[in-house]
Amino acid sequence: MAWQFVTLKLRLMAGALRGSPARLAGLIVAGVAGLYAMPAAFALLAALHGREVAAGTGVLVFTAVAVNWALLPLFAFGTDETLDPARLALLPLRRRTLTVGLFAAALTGIGPVVTFVVLLGVVAAVADSPGSVAVGVLAAALNLALCVTASRALTTGFSRLLRSRRGSDAGLIAGALLVAVTVVAGNIALRAQAARGGLGREVDAAAGIARWTPPGMLAHAIGDAARGAYPLAFAGLAAGAVSVLALLWAWVALLGHALTSQDGQSRGARRRSAGAAAPAAVRVVPAAGSAAAAVPHPPAGVSRARAVAAKELRYTWRDPRRRAAWLGLATALLITLSAAGLATDGLARSSGAVLAVAACYPGVLAGVQAANQFGLDGGALWLNVAATWRARQLRADLAGKNLACALVAVPFFTALYAALGLAVHQVRYPAAGLGLSIAALGVSLGIASIASVLLPYPVPDRRASAFGGGGTGRGCLAALTSAGILVLAALLLSPLLAALATLHAGPWLLVAGPSYGAAVAWAGRAIASGLGYRRLPELLAEVSRTV
């Protein structure tokens, strides 16, 4: 039966590529990249064989791969929802059949294959006897299973929180904080241990902590087997296997709940505010309009942008997919800032370079998630298209979307850097960081506007997962788009960074940063509206496709 799920998934992947050259191109690019990267990663790891750091590195690679699998879908790309479990709801499938089948389908794809090869690289580095190779292959397989089940269980669990009623938003924030705090705690523990062991022992210090996590225990089992300590090795494997089973169980239990219950909040919200949900293009939403009411006749573009922004803000709150995006962003920021050690001593003596990277990152990330503005509108985009007969109107729509994004991101950044300022008892670097992050936001929003009209794709709204990617081949293209935006943003930010290198970091960036960012965002909108207005029908057709 599991085989049926695997072939079903393969058929769906093939179907998704039918008649879509862009998706096919994305898949080919990813495939070629994988073909080069896989042997390279394997060889790099295998080259560690016999070195002292091999065991420690192995533990870290196993752990890092698992953590990335578990957390990355929450921040970017989503999980592979090619096989949407909701479509199986009517079939008489036993819990066990369903679990095994969905698991097998989740293992089918490019990502799992690449991951497995990388994990085998660790086996090549650490194992040195036939017995330990056998244990190693088993450990790698179990770790892959751990990766897949952890990512599914987490996205399904978070989706449940995202889709639930308001009360659970506290739980959601708590979850995000928990993840961030865990990372910070790990960071601090690592520093403490590295300090005891002296410099250059970071790998062993980190591995000393990571080895007690399930993936770490699996990796450690390979070393145990290599040393001939087979009972210890089997204990490690057993611990990994138990973790996999527990995660599988949690995933399917959460899934079962997700598929037989309905989204309470959105139904309620729809009913309560049917008026507010009306097409933004033809109606100024009262909440945003109250301040505007004092101004007699704002220019058409301004009122339109304001209406779109109000609609976007409502959607940010009500659409699980958007909440998922912001949640991921917030967690990512907390993790990076804390993991970079900025919260403690790093910032006080930070050079311009550290500041630049740390501050640009949040802004660019916030911008990247706007790279598919119209995809989230989906088929409803026709409401705007029907009310658009000039490129300027599209520009106003984009301005509204940018405004909504800034209204969420800027207060968040401000709070973040204010907290940082309090933590390090100074103003200069946090202020500069805030200015820089807003500049990065503006710059990436400008690029994202252009990407939105050139490379739109539909975003499925699935019951089981708010983190679904755009489907087969789409994930690769989305990843390439994000990478492209990152590179372009870095290029466009370079004048500001050059200025930062010559002048001292300081509050002047609070003026220069937002001004520069706003200018680039404005230019991006101007270009995007010109390009997009001509291909509005194609844009609508692309984002309305059922995935």
């Binding site: 769906l12 039918r18 079939l91 309905q262 909040q265 009913r271």
Partner: protein, 261 residues
Amino acid sequence: MACSDRTAPPAVAARGLCKRFGSRIAAAGVTLLVPAGSFCGLVGPNGAGKTTTLSMMTGLLRPDAGTVEIAGRDVWRDPVGVKAVIGVLPEGLRLFERLSGRELLGYLGRLRGMPAAEVDARADELLAVLDLARDARTLVVDYSAGMRKKIALAAALLHNPRVLFLDEPFEGVDPVSAQAIRAVLDAYTASGSTVIFSSHVLELVESLCDFVAVMSGGQILTFGTLAQVCQGRPLQQAFLSIVGAPAQQHGRLTWLGNSSR
């Protein structure tokens, strides 16, 4: 499949089904006993709770309270057993869009554990009868609304269910496709199987069904044979008097139309 006699347990026995979404009550104690072998129409205004009720009966939506039994099996205690004997054409039609029509049927049959040869033979026959044979290799995502209804009906019938649930099977379907669906349903019920379907098209309910349930505000207002419910009136009239039509509103919408321009 054996024809059921009237002493057999009801094909569908829903008792006290309740469901609440936030502050809105979608089903407020729905009780419905549908005899085996009947063709039962579920009618009611928009928002009456028809889809919610059908979803709870078919194991797609967990009720807050109440029980559902299909042919004597509890839907929520024995979901596997129940899903094996029911066919559902749900609202929203969530299908694997990226399979062709024939692939879709093939997979659904295999996932139900049916022999592959049997699945393929039945799939071809269903596709032919429903006039989908020419589009058997087209992806479902490229199907029209009527074709989607037809392929979903084929999926619901593939395993020869004992009870068939149809949520608005004729909505958005052209007359030609509607005729094809009707012919299949006629053949299906002639064998003594049970059908429950919801619809707004009262003429259709009147001509197809032998039992009618009228729903409003999350409750069954009336249930009985067509003659019992209609009491000599056309179903349209009987329905409006049971549900209660709103009074005509005069003096509204005066801005609408040519005269005010």
